[in-house]
């Protein structure tokens, strides 16, 4: 069994990651990079807890053998979080009580980040679709959907302020 070195840009930093065959991106992030904000839920692609952005698109990190994405750019919840304070999506989730146990939250927030990158002004239906791969077993979906829309409004407002 031959290990290999995979180059990834993780949250803006270039990394060389040594992996055994079949190591998932989830394992590489959690075990090798110490980025435990990305959660291991089902390991089957069914729960969305491990959602990260790969080259700007939401993907389930438990379903990606890291050797197949050499050179990719990965963004995780840790990278989303600014040096000080919180990202507008995080603020919206926090202030909208869109977390209960919190286990699904980082996946929900990354799914939201993926949606808002493509669609800054989503409808409620768009928000529902965007998180349809993410399970909240506390079943707090309504507050999460509200938070996705609130996050979009906050980000649009921040963009307007910046332009003004």
């Amino acid at each position: 069994m031959k290990h290999s070195v995979v180059a990834l840009t993780v949250n803006g930093a270039e990394r060389q990651v040594l992996v055994a065959p079949g190591t998932t991106l989830l394992d590489a992030l959690r075990e090798s990079q110490g980025l435990t904000g990305t959660r291991r839920g089902c390991d089957q692609g069914a729960c969305g807890a491990c959602t990260v952005l790969v080259d700007g698109k939401t993907m389930m990190s438990c379903l990606l053998p890291v050797e197949t994405i050499d050179g990719a750019t990965i963004d995780t919840i840790e990278g989303l979080t600014p040096m000080e304070g919180l990202h507008p999506i995080q603020e919206a989730f926090l202030e909208g009580f869109a977390t209960q146990c919190g286990f699904c939250t980082s996946g929900m927030i990354m799914a939201t980040a993926g949606l808002l990158a493509r669609n800054p002004d989503p409808s409620r239906e768009d928000a529902v679709r965007a998180i349809s791969g993410n399970i909240c077993r506390c079943t707090g979906y309504e507050a999460i959907i509200d938070a996705v829309l609130d996050a979009a409004a906050r980000m649009r407002a921040a963009k307007r302020d910046k332009a003004a």
């Binding site: 065959p21 390991d43 692609g45 993907m59 438990c62 993410n134």
Partner: protein, 269 residues
């Protein structure tokens, strides 16, 4: 335990690796293969990824669309020429999975998943299969019902874009989004002089693989496309399906509702 994961940069390299590596499994988006690996399978000892083999992309020319097998569902949904497929694609899994799952991989997903195969059957799509020395073209309805050889790779799919309004799709699941199929109905129906001149119907979720509803097609052809004739034709579907029990629905229920959803797909009521 997995010994090797290879990401070849071309189709010939991929075939060379399949010859060299014993017990290799092809992987594209990973949404079907990785769950088995994560569950601890010993069915394969190597993975050969199609991610970098140059099999992605969509070409539309003279009304015919050719799609590389490693093209993702999201890439399909973003293609303006495939706007008619949008509502069908949105019923398949979640946006996150659609960023990963490929059109080629969808052909090999176990039922009751693989709704895109039902669409491809309705569209009369063909698949190009290469074994490294020869290339052949197979109808999707035949391909999904057969076993591929160890070196066979589906490289692309092709179909004619249906005339506006002729593609029809209904999927019944336990949830509105991100649900497996109880029954999926895809159809392309052409009407001329007030009667159905041609139709192809693909069904998912109601047999071991996606199937063509030939008995329904035959009953519908030559008749007006109205509720009465759609219902009469849909009633023939029991000849085309072999429904199964699973956690989503019983075989009895699938058989009971299949004609209803075929009628709804055909005439919208």
């Amino acid at each position: 335990m997995l010994q090797t994961v290879a990401t070849p940069g071309s189709l010939p390299e991929t075939h060379a690796l399949l010859s060299k590596l014993d017990g290799a499994r092809l992987i594209a988006g990973g949404t079907a293969v990785m769950p088995t690996l994560n569950a601890g399978t010993d069915e394969f000892s190597s993975l050969v990824s199609l991610r970098a083999a140059g099999l992605s992309g969509i070409v539309v020319k003279d009304g015919v669309v050719t799609i590389g097998a490693a093209t993702t569902m999201t890439e399909l949904a973003d293609e303006p020429a495939l706007a008619f497929l949008q509502s069908a694609l949105e019923t398949i899994a979640s946006p996150t999975i659609r960023n990963m799952a490929t059109i080629g991989g969808n052909l090999f997903v176990k039922q009751p998943y693989g709704d895109l195969s039902a669409c491809l059957i309705a569209l009369g799509a063909t698949a190009t299969v290469s074994d490294g020395t020869a290339t052949r073209i197979e109808p999707v309805e035949k391909l999904v019902a057969s076993r591929l050889g160890p070196k066979d790779i589906v490289t692309q799919l092709a179909f004619s874009i249906p005339s506006p309004g002729s593609f029809k799709f209904v999927k019944a699941g336990r949830k509105a989004l991100n649900a497996a199929a109880i029954v999926t109905v895809a159809a392309v129906v052409s009407v001329s002089d007030g009667v159905v001149s041609q139709c192809r119907i693909g069904l998912g979720g109601v047999a071991e693989c996606a199937v063509r509803a030939r008995s329904v097609e035959e009953a519908l052809t030559g008749n007006p496309l109205d509720r009465t004739h759609a219902e009469q034709a849909a009633a023939k579907a029991d000849r085309d399906i072999e429904p199964f029990d699973d956690s989503h629905a019983s075989a009895w229920y699938r058989a009971r509702v299949t004609p209803v959803h075929i009628r709804r797909a055909l005439v919208g009521e």
